[in-house]
């Protein structure tokens, strides 16, 4: 299953609902283009909903890191929402779980962004 993403806005936060695989090739490229597009439009509060992401490889991990640093360097915030067990475990063993701001409830996640 290839990756799909859909964006929506809640209280000034852009939620990107991602499903499928974030892997080398199409998945990583879609994520990169989506985040760049949001930043170019001035949307710098980004919540990546990974609830339907069932697989991610080292390229996908790299793309998440890239998205995180890109948004931060633009003065924005990027947070992760609803990690599946596989993605959670991967972020744990790569020690990235503490780097990312990981949320498990959308409403409180939206409220957590700097106003």
């Amino acid at each position: 299953m290839t990756m799909k993403s859909n964006t929506r806005q809640i209280d000034g936060v852009t939620i990107v609902d991602i499903s499928g695989r974030i892997t080398l090739g199409e998945g990583s490229i879609i994520l990169r283009d989506t985040v760049r597009d949001l930043i170019s439009k001035g949307n710098k509060k980004i919540l990546l909903n990974l609830g339907d992401v069932n697989y991610i490889d080292s390229s996908g991990i790299g793309e998440l890191v890239s998205a995180f640093t890109t948004v931060r360097n633009q003065g924005g915030e990027l947070k992760l929402l609803n990690l599946t067990k596989k993605v959670h475990d991967l972020l744990q063993i790569t020690k990235l779980y503490t780097v990312f701001d990981v949320k498990d409830d959308e409403t409180s996640a939206v409220k957590s962004f700097t106003r």
């Binding site: 892997t23 080398l24 090739g25 490889d57 080292s58 390229s59 991990i61 790299g62 793309e63 890191v65 890239s66 995180f68 640093t69 596989k86 991967l90 063993i93 790569t94 020690k95 990235l96 780097v99």
Partner: protein, 177 residues
């Protein structure tokens, strides 16, 4: 991935197969057999290597968690071979072999690149490397397999991934060469 009794995969899947089965039976159905593939340096190879590894691990009797780990390790090794080793060069091939021994599933992946410099791979868990966007592939491979042997040479890099069939808590020990 579906294969026939000779290990051939249907046309259109994109595999270039060199049949090197030790016998002429269905690959990796039981013990003591070997199947290998010669593959193009493409993204499709990465995806197919992962899918085939998943099937091989399943047929070898591994549980769901181990199947995922094996498939992911093979995907990462295939990424290294296609991207970093062969650099998508259409003249260079990736060689992939699955061998089922009495107690192990042994997967060997070889490329035709310049040979990886193991000393040049930074520790992806070091604080200064955590925000790097690459360099986690071999770390993940070591995390997911019981034994990993990496043999670089000027003719390319060979990586051997070993998972014990009856399980091990060893978790990614590097085997000295």
């Amino acid at each position: 991935m579906v294969s026939d009794e000779l290990g051939r995969v249907p046309d259109g899947v994109g595999w270039r197969i060199s049949l090197q089965l030790q016998d002429r039976e269905k690959p990796v159905a039981m013990s003591q057999r070997r199947v290998s593939f010669t593959l193009d340096s493409t993204l499709e190879t990465v995806n197919n290597a992962e899918a085939t590894a998943s099937n091989m691990a399943s047929e070898a009797g591994f549980g769901e968690d181990d199947i995922m780990k094996i498939a992911m390790a093979v995907r990462e090794a295939a990424i290294n071979a296609v991207l970093h080793g062969n650099a998508y060069d259409p003249r260079k091939k990736v060689w992939l072999e699955f061998e089922r021994t009495g107690r192990d599933l042994v997967i060997t992946i070889k490329d035709q690149g310049k040979g990886i410099d193991l000393n040049a791979i930074p520790d992806p868990l070091a604080p200064e490397n955590l925000l790097k966007t690459s360099g986690r592939g071999i770390f993940l491979i070591r995390s997911f397999m019981d034994e990993v042997q990496i043999n670089p040479s000027a003719a390319g890099t060979e990586i051997k991934l070993i998972k014990h069939v009856h399980g091990s808590a060893a978790g990614g020990k590097e085997v000295s060469q």
